[in-house]
Amino acid sequence: MAAVESLPPGTPSAMRNAFGTVLSALILVLIGVLAFSIRLFSVIKYESVIHEFDPYFNYRVTQFLSKNGIYEFWNWFDDRTWYPLGRVIGGTVYPGLTLTAGTIWWVLNAINIPLSVETVCVFTAPVFSAFASWATYLLTKEVKGSGAGLAAAALLAMVPSYISRSVAGSYDNEAVAIFALIFTFYLYIKTLNTGSLFYATLNAIAYFYMVCSWGGYTFIINLIPMHVLLCIVTGRYSPRLYIAYAPLVVLGTLLAALVPVVGFNAVLTSEHFASFLVFIIIHVVALVYYIKGILTPKMFKVAVTLVVSIGLVVCLIVVAVLVALVASSPTGGWSGRSLSLLDPTYASKYIPIIASVSEHQPPTWPSYFMDINVLAFLVPAGIIACFSPLSDASSFVVLYIVMSVYFSGVMVRLMLVLAPAACIMSGIALSQAFDVFTGSIKYQLSSKSKDDAEDNTSTKNAPKDDASSGKADKGEEVAKERLSKKGKKKEREPAEKPSVKSKIVKKKALVLPLEASIVALLLLIMLGAFYVIHCVWAAAEAYSAPSIVLTSQSHDGLHVFDDFRESYAWLSHNTDVDDKVASWWDYGYQTTAMANRTVIVDNNTWNNTHIATVGTAMSSPEKAAWEIFNSLDVKYVLVVFGGVIGYPSDDINKFLWMVRIGGGEFPHIKEADYLRDGQYRIDSEATPTMLNCLMYKLCYYRFVETDGKGYDRVRRTEIGKKHFKLTHFEEVFTSHHWMVRIYKLKPQKNRIRGRVKKLKQKTTSGVSSKSVKKNPWM
């Protein structure tokens, strides 16, 4: 795009520039409003409520922060969760999101706008998505110019993958972190382009904000070194590269170590080693260039031979030491989650919890089209457009998209990181395409008064461009066009005036026939329209469900299932403050936030053994489960059951994971015991272990009273054991649609007669199959 030169005001080009700036500012404001409003569907369709599970934890932390101040927050030890272990909140949470929302709430309250903490939390994500689209504009402007920037910002405002994690109410780390990610990348590219230390400092601060906000910051600290390495290897080393990279590493590491969650991991884990390695490499390269600059070539050759021989020996020693250090830790220094990114099969073999989270599964092909839609085929065009002048900035964006495509292929949750890259690439592609087409139209219209010979030449030389396929290979067309034009130009006699000739040489290279350009423009606009329609549909239908309230349309209107909140309210009103509630870890955050009761395990899943204990309890027969729960001081057990209304994400469907995780720690739980012929069933063909386990009993207790036959709508079969009594638990609450069922542990009998005790010991040795692997709770 043409660079903006400083022109005296009042000249037509200066006026045009000013008009362009005002127009882009206006467009940016509109894009921000669009980004904000498209995320408000859930507030309109349901209510202003926090969604899902993780946001409830963030909301609870923000509440604590707003009530008690930052000092208390920093030192908070939470004893209402992971009973009896507790959790050090200050040291294990990424504080960026809560601090941001807390600051916004505090500022608003200070200027007398009394918004509640919940409202601030619900609307933080849309506000920051508007900021993120502005950051995308800035980033793409650095790469290709403001036209591409506007296109990319408009695309990011609506891309479904980003909407899915930042609707109003989805108060999660990514809401703020994606903005921080794009902004950090923008500052890095800006530093790379200008070489100013001011932006380098800002870059380090933005990186610090990113580290505060999300564990995905390791993506930045590995992508930037990779890009630096790429630049060095392709011969693009320049002092600006050094200024962009070296301060970032040092200051960034220092600042990252300030965040308690990261702490010393900033220098000790393998995730950061890449940055240090490239730090050393860039110093070596800088030194080499410097010496090359001050020496004569002959002397330089001598220097090289001398250094290489000594340096190689030193390098080998250092590498050997490093390898020994890294190999001494069992995972080679990587954390579990990062290792599962590099080796996708790692989690399923060693850490079933990571494998069980549905967000950590690889995505399917349709999810790509659902999440980034039209951008999926604009991205390759953008990559080609980035190569036409390959600059440092465009090589960075290409590397970004390649890496994010790989990682999004490993884990569905990382589609979110792909979204900004895809938007940038597509913005570049769209802007280039519009440039070519509108330029051709303008040229064609203005040259209608010129020589006909020129028109004939251009129409003859225009390659056959199917407008529908033009988008995919328009980049190649343009290049081919240019080459053929140049070739033809040489053969023609210079009949025209030299000035016209030079202008024609420049403009003719990009000229397509008028009709083709107009049709192509219209088709591109239609493509954009399809994208918008899809995004709005996705935002409204697919990603706006708060999942704490369910709705369904039926012939007699809209049914609302508010069972979760009903049961949490029951808990908070009908139990003592110190009562412990046991449930599967999915519901931990919601229970502590809404019911305000102590839970045993929650979504943080940091202690696998504790979760395995609860899983074992759910998979054991009633008496064994009672023993386990009693040892944990549990008073109430909560299960989620969807059989009455057909809610598919209930505990029976998750039950196999409980068995696997429990079996991972306590070998007397074997998955095969719960499967009949390898199939998971709960009907009359189910195994006796399955029919006797606590989860089955708690879910299906009195279920037969609902319809007389016990027909489970999710599993689509009648249940196996229909009439049974509970001996160690009593039912205290079942929600309106039977979705949440709460049971209380019955107190122990006062007297145990001798005969019963002997019977207990006999059944103990009979229950465990091998004498070696005994049930540790009996």
């Binding site: 070489g195 200024i243 200051l251 220092l254 010393f264 800088a286």
Partner: protein
Amino acid sequence: MVKSTSKDAQDLFRSLHSAYSATPTNLKIIDMYVVFAVFTALIQVAYMALVGSFPFNSFLSGVLSCVGTAVLAVCLRIQVNKENKEFKCKTIVTNLGGIVAMFVIAV
């Protein structure tokens, strides 16, 4: 063979020395500062190897701030060097503020 290598090495050092003395004084001051900062960092590493790394925070902050100031000084040198045609001089002012601010935060 060895003699020619050693003669080459001597020539190399002599030419390096002569080329380096040609750099202007202000750049040499910056270079001295960089050497001093790196030297301080090395002393801290040696101390840690000797005494043990117990307050790891202090070790980390000490070494990183020394390396940080060295890096920033190198950047300053890059920008001030008149042979690099890419920079304007006004970045000097903002950069000094950057160093001071970063130290206050980092340490």
